[in-house]
């Protein structure tokens, strides 16, 4: 059977002092159910991804059940998934498999993480099997710092090129009302921020934050039962584990990423040239150029030129087109273009929400922009691609880089949703996550 996306929801990302794993998941889950027009009691399974609930909050195996309790969903299969940064993507994959096989027809997928607080102090969060490394001072930034140094030495990648990824992400984040940090930054800001592990500075690293995202998935039978006509088809969802027997020790690329993205392209019957927008996850900026290169969307030739081209290509990823829905499932790095949070588990669902904005309501968004500017949608589209448009409602110019690549469907997130009061909430923890 084919899997379809029926509804999505997502919290803003930030430091919500009073929030819990359950409250974050509930907020996103309610939005997704409302968006899909599905009553909670029609949900047949929950797949919930969260990476760090155990070590940070002593909530080990029942995160999905807790959220189900809050949402009024009972008596269903609950699958709790933990796969570090890919936890949300794995939950999505589980639901996709269950619906494709016909085992269930209606699924709620949730990715949730609360990173801004933990029970007591502790060592940096690392992968399983790394206790000895932790004793010797291993930190995740140290790992990515080494990967960056290797990339710089091997391919001639410059420090400024690495910093430009963070600059690009913030340029997109300023238009995303749900992003954790939204003030634009410059390469000078990045290089001038506190050094963490050279070459990585503070603004090269993901912030810690809280957030959740959710999606309602259905197959044909589920859509018929619920009277839905979902428009977004899941083209592929692929996950994989590392290659342990023959480890590729080159830290400038990742064999697992190559393998899973190649398989996803094969299943989706698409290639890198078909992808209009990709949202790529990375906790630290340094290997970004290698991951985009790894999964085939940038110049396959190594070297600084590749990084430059990759930078141009991703400089203004607009939050989506129909193709993103394919690519969203096609890689494990799909993530909001904004550096919204370190809660990697939620990242894939976040992309899906934006995918829906365009795929289901392109006319509305196009006309919104057109009316804003008083020009035709076709002409508006050209303007945006040239970087000359201004969103009057947002009260500021929006650079063309922001919407590069929106060729088929025209989507501007700032025009899709009103700016919320989350803008300006940066750094310090606030109260609970808004419902």
């Amino acid at each position: 059977m084919t899997t379809y996306l029926a509804g999505v929801g997502m919290t803003p990302f930030g430091k919500f002092r009073d929030s819990t794993m359950a409250s974050l998941g509930r907020v996103a889950g309610r939005q997704a159910l409302t968006d899909a027009g599905v009553d909670p009691h029609r949900i047949e399974m929950i797949a919930c991804g969260s990476a760090r609930s155990g070590i940070l909050h002593a909530s080990e195996s029942g995160v999905g059940q807790l959220i189900g309790w809050d949402l009024g969903i009972q008596g269903v299969a609950v699958y709790n998934e933990k796969a570090f940064c890919a936890s949300g993507a794995v939950a999505f994959n589980i639901a996709h498999m269950a619906l494709s096989s016909g085992a269930h027809d209606v699924a709620l997928v949730i990715g949730v993480e609360k990173m801004s607080s933990r029970d007591g102090a502790g060592r940096p969060l690392t992968s399983d099997g790394m206790a000895l490394e932790g004793e010797q001072g291993f930190t995740p930034p140290a790992y990515y710092g080494m990967a960056a140094r290797r990339h710089m030495e091997t391919y001639g990648t410059t420090r400024e090129q690495i910093a430009s990824v963070a600059v690009k992400n913030r340029a997109a984040a300023q238009h995303n009302p749900k992003a954790q940090y939204r003030d634009p930054i410059t390469i000078g800001d990045v290089l001038g921020s506190k050094e963490v592990v050279w070459p990585l500075h503070l603004l090269d690293c993901c912030p810690t934050g809280d957030g959740a995202a959710a999606a309602v998935l259905v197959n044909e039978a589920g859509a018929e039962k619920l009277g839905l006509e979902p428009a977004i088809r899941v083209a592929a969802s692929v996950i994989g584990s590392g290659y342990y027997l023959k480890q590729n020790r080159d830290m400038t690329s990742f064999s697992l990423d190559k393998a899973t993205s190649a398989r996803a392209y094969e299943l989706a019957e698409l290639g890198p040239s078909d992808i209009d927008v990709a949202e790529v996850h990375d906790s630290f900026q340094s290997p970004r150029s290698s991951t985009t290169r790894t999964w085939g969307s940038a110049n396959p030739e190594p070297g600084a030129s590749s990084s430059k081209r990759a930078k141009r290509r991703w400089a203004g990823v607009s939050p989506l087109t129909r193709a993103v829905v394919c690519s969203t499932e096609a890689t494990r790095w799909v993530r909001p273009a904004s550096p919204s949070s370190s809660s990697c588990a939620t990242s894939c669902e976040a992309a899906r929400e934006r995918a829906r904005w365009t795929a289901r309501e392109p006319r509305w968004r196009t006309s919104t922009v057109a009316s804003t500017k008083g020009i035709s949608p076709r002409r508006a589209s050209r303007f945006w691609q040239r970087g000359r448009a201004t969103d009057d409602r947002a009260g500021r110019a929006v650079t063309g880089r922001f919407v590069v690549g929106a060729r088929r469907r025209f989507a501007i997130p700032v025009a899709c949703q009103p700016l919320s009061d989350v803008r300006g909430r940066q750094g310090a923890a606030t109260g609970d996550v808004p419902e």
Binding site: A121, G122, R123, P124, G129, M130, L132, E133, G134, E135, Q136, G137, F138, T139, P141, A142, G145, M146, A147, R149, R150, E153, K194, E195, V196, V197, W198, Y244, L245, R249, M251
Partner: protein, 98 residues
């Protein structure tokens, strides 16, 4: 790393082997913001041991000394690392002539 108890190819029991302590730096970085358990910045990196394993460890580098680089030959020592109230004996590598 981490060590195995059985060979994944034929499930024969693994036997410990001795290490010479010699190796080559694959990559090294200076951890400027030390994690919990450490007071001051330090150098650390991946060492490709002569016996084949890749091993993460701290690398000795005094103030003013040239930074450790890819390809540098190193030799393992055992030293105390960590904060004054929580010290552990750990492998620390020092650079030696190639």
């Amino acid at each position: 790393m981490p060590p195995r108890e059985m060979c994944p190819n034929d499930f024969a029991a693994c036997a410990p082997i001795g290490l010479t302590g010699g190796g080559t730096i694959y990559e090294a970085v200076r951890v400027v913001i030390p994690p919990q358990g450490f007071d001051t910045p330090f150098w650390a990196g991946y060492i490709d041991l002569d016996e084949g394993a890749r091993f993460f460890a701290q690398i000795a580098c005094a103030e003013g000394e040239s930074p450790p680089r890819h390809g540098d030959r190193v030799q393992m020592n055992v030293e105390w690392i960590g904060t004054a109230d929580r010290r552990v004996l750990a492998p620390v590598f020092s650079r030696v002539a190639n």
